[in-house]
C-alpha cells in the first residue's frame, strides 16, 4: 500500500506545485552535499594528481606518482584494516550480549540503561581518552591486577596495540549496541518460542533464530564502528603512545608534517575507494536472497 504523502492529481498546476515543493525540500541538503562534500572531494581528487609545492601544499600537475607511492606505502592501511576489523569484532563481542540483555532482560530499567549508554558521548572524547591513560597506566589498578594475576613484574599496556584496541572499542561501542538493540527489540518474540517449541535449546535458538534476525542491526552496527575506526588517529596517538600507526596518522603526516597534500590526497582517495567498495560489497553480500533492503547501512 505505498501511497504518496500527497495525492498527485493529474492537473498540471498541482503537479507543478508538487514538483516545486519536492525541490524545495531537497534543495538545502542537496546544496550542502554539492558544495561541502562533492566539491571538496573533487579538490582532493584533483590534488591527488598534483605535486608538492616547494614549501609544501599543492602545485598543479598531472602525475600518478602519488598513487604509486600510496600503494607502496600501504602498511598503515593494512594496520588500520587489522585494527578496525578486530575492533569491530571486539565491539560485537561486547555489544551483542549487552544489546540482547537490554532487549530481552532489562525490564523496567531499559530506558535508563539505554540513556546510560549515551551519556559517555556527552563528555569530551579527548578527555575520556586521556582518562584511560590513568586507568591503564603502569601504577594503575588494571595493570596492578594483571601483574598480580600473571606474576609479571611489569605489564606495559599503554603504548601497545592492546591499549589502542581498548580505546577503539570503548570509543565506538555504543554505535554497535544501538542498532543491535533496535533490531532485537523489534524481533517477534513468538519466533523464539516457536524455536524452543521445535526442540531448539537456548544456544540453538540464539544461533538459528536470534542471530540471523538480528543480522541487519549487526551489519549496521559493524559499519558504524568500522568506518570511524578506519579513519581514527587520536586514540593511537594518545593510548598507543604514537607507536601504532594507522591510516589516520598517515594522513596527518602527509598533510601536516610533510605538507605533501598531493600524496595525502592520493592516500585519501585510495582509502575512500576501498572502503566504499568493501562496504557496498558487504551489504550486497548480506542482502542476497533477503527481503528488499532488509539490511541497509544505517
Amino acid at each position: 500500500m505505498a501511497t504518496p504523502t500527497v495525492p498527485a492529481p493529474p492537473r498540471a498546476g498541482t503537479r507543478f506545485r508538487n514538483g516545486l515543493l519536492t525541490t524545495a525540500l531537497l534543495l538545502p541538503a542537496g546544496l550542502w552535499y554539492l558544495v561541502l562534500l562533492v566539491a571538496p572531494l573533487v579538490i582532493i581528487v584533483v590534488f591527488s594528481f598534483g605535486t608538492r609545492a616547494k614549501n609544501g601544499g599543492y602545485a598543479p600537475d598531472f602525475v600518478l606518482d602519488n598513487y604509486i607511492r600510496a600503494f607502496q606505502r600501504a602498511d598503515p592501511f593494512v594496520t588500520s584494516l587489522q585494527m578496525a576489523v578486530f575492533g569491530t569484532i571486539g565491539c560485537l563481542l561486547v555489544g551483542l550480549p549487552l544489546a540482547y540483555f537490554l532487549a530481552t532482560r532489562a525490564g523496567r530499567h531499559k530506558g535508563v540503561l539505554i540513556l546510560l549508554l549515551v551519556i559517555p558521548f556527552w563528555t569530551s572524547f579527548l578527555i575520556r581518552t586521556y582518562a584511560w591513560l590513568l586507568i591503564l597506566g603502569p601504577d594503575s589498578g588494571v595493570a596492578g591486577v594483571l601483574q598480580s594475576l600473571t606474576g609479571a613484574e611489569k605489564i606495559q599496556i599503554l603504548g601497545t596495540p592492546v591499549a589502542v584496541m581498548i580505546g577503539l572499542i570503548y570509543g565506538y561501542l555504543p554505535l554497535m549496541v544501538f542498532p543491535l538493540y533496535v533490531t532485537l527489540e523489534r524481533m517477534d518474540r513468538s519466533l523464539l518460542e516457536a524455536s524452543k517449541d521445535l526442540g531448539a535449546g537456548r544456544w540453538g535458538t540464539f544461533r538459528q533464530v536470534t542471530l540471523p534476525i538480528a543480522l541487519p542491526g549487526l551489519v549496521t552496527g559493524s559499519i558504524l564502528v568500522f568506518i570511524p575506526m578506519m579513519g581514527e588517529y587520536v586514540i593511537p596517538q594518545i593510548l598507543g603512545y604514537g607507536r601504532t600507526y594507522l591510516m589516520g596518522n598517515a594522513l596527518m603526516t602527509d598533510f601536516l608534517e610533510a605538507r605533501n597534500w598531493p600524496s595525502g590526497s592520493a592516500r585519501a582517495v585510495f582509502l575512500i575507494v576501498i572502503m566504499v567498495v568493501t562496504i557496498a560489497g558487504y551489504v550486497w553480500f548480506l542482502n542476497r536472497g533477503r527481503r528488499t533492503r532488509e539490511v541497509s547501512v544505517l
Partner: protein, 367 residues
Amino acid sequence: SPGSSASPAVSAAAPTTAGSAAATPEASAAASASAAAAGPIESELFMYNWSEYISLDNIEAFKAKYGVTTFKYDIYDSNDVLLAKLQAGATGYDIAAPTAEYVPGMVEQGFLQKLDKSRLPNLVNIDPKFKGLWWDPNDEYQIPKDFGTTGVLYRETMIPTVPKTWKDFYDLIKGPASGKTVFVDSMGDVFVFPLKMLGFSANSVVKEELDQARTILLDVAPHLLALDSNKYGEKMAKGEASLALGWTGVLTQDMADTPDKGYVVPTEGSIFWLDTWVLLAEAPHPNAAYAFLDFIQDPAIQAEETNYNNYGTPNDKAKPLVDPKVLADPAVFPPDAVFALLEGSQDTSASTQRTDIWEEFKQHRGG
C-alpha cells in the same frame, strides 16, 4: 611552581607586571612613538599562537595600556596546522608565532609583512646572536620570541650512566632504557639524533646520509616506549620513562619536582629552535600588532614571559629581571660553549625520503 602558571587564577597572584610595564619609561615612549607613526591603535588584536604561550597578565597589561578591548588568542598545536591554514589562504589573524625555520617559506609565499623597525624601538634589546640568522638574514620578517634546544632528558637514578653523547644515548636506548625511552613526535627533532651521531648536519637531506640515519632509527625503534610531544614530561616524572629525546620546556613543568631530572645537549651537537613573532600579510589590525610586538619586547614584560613559560628569551635586557632560578638553569639558558654546538633547525619537510623513513620508523616495532 611554574607548572601552576597554566592557570590564570594562580598567575593572577604573581607579581603585578602591569605596574612594572607602565613603569618602564622607554616602553611608554615607544608606544607613543609607534602610535604616532601610523594612525590610531585598533581596539582589536587577533593572535594565532601555541597554547598558553604568553602570560595572561601581560595580555591584560597590554590591553590596559593600549586600550585594546578584544584580544583574541587562538591556538594551533603545530607549525603545520598554522602553515596549512595560511597555505589554504585562511587569514584574519594579525600575529602568529611560527618556529624560525618556517619563516623563509612563509615569506616566499607572501604570508608575512616586512617589519617597520622604526615602530619597534624595543628590538634593540634582542641578543645579537639571534640576529641575521639564515632564515631571516636581515631580520626583516620576524622577531625572536623564545628559544630552546633539542637534547636528551633523563632520570639520573633510573639509568646507570648519564649520557654525554648521542652514542651514549643510543646505547642506553638499546640497553638499560629499552622500553623506557620517549621521542618527541616531531620529524625534524628526531632526525637530529641519528644524523648528529653520524656527524652529519641535523638538517641533511642527502640520500646516503639519510639511509644511514634510517638504519639507526629502525634499530632503536623497537626499544621506544612512546612517540609523544605532549606527555613525555609526565611519563618521565612518573618514571614510566627514564630517557627522552625532547625539549627543555617540560623540565620546569611536568618534571618540576622531579629531583633526579637531567638534561644534556650531546657533544656531537644538536639543533636549537627559535620561535618567532611574525606580522601576517593581511593583518587586519597592523597598529595594534606593532604596539604588541614592541610591548612584548619590553624587558619587564619579556621577563614575565620567561618566568611564565620557562623558555629561553633572546631578550638580553630582560634577563636581569628573570627569576634567578630560571636564569641559572643551563637547560633554559645554555652556556655559550653549548650554544656553539647548536645548529639552527631547517624546514626539511620537502624531502619525501625523510617522510618515508619517518613513517617506516613510526611503524617499526621490531620482531
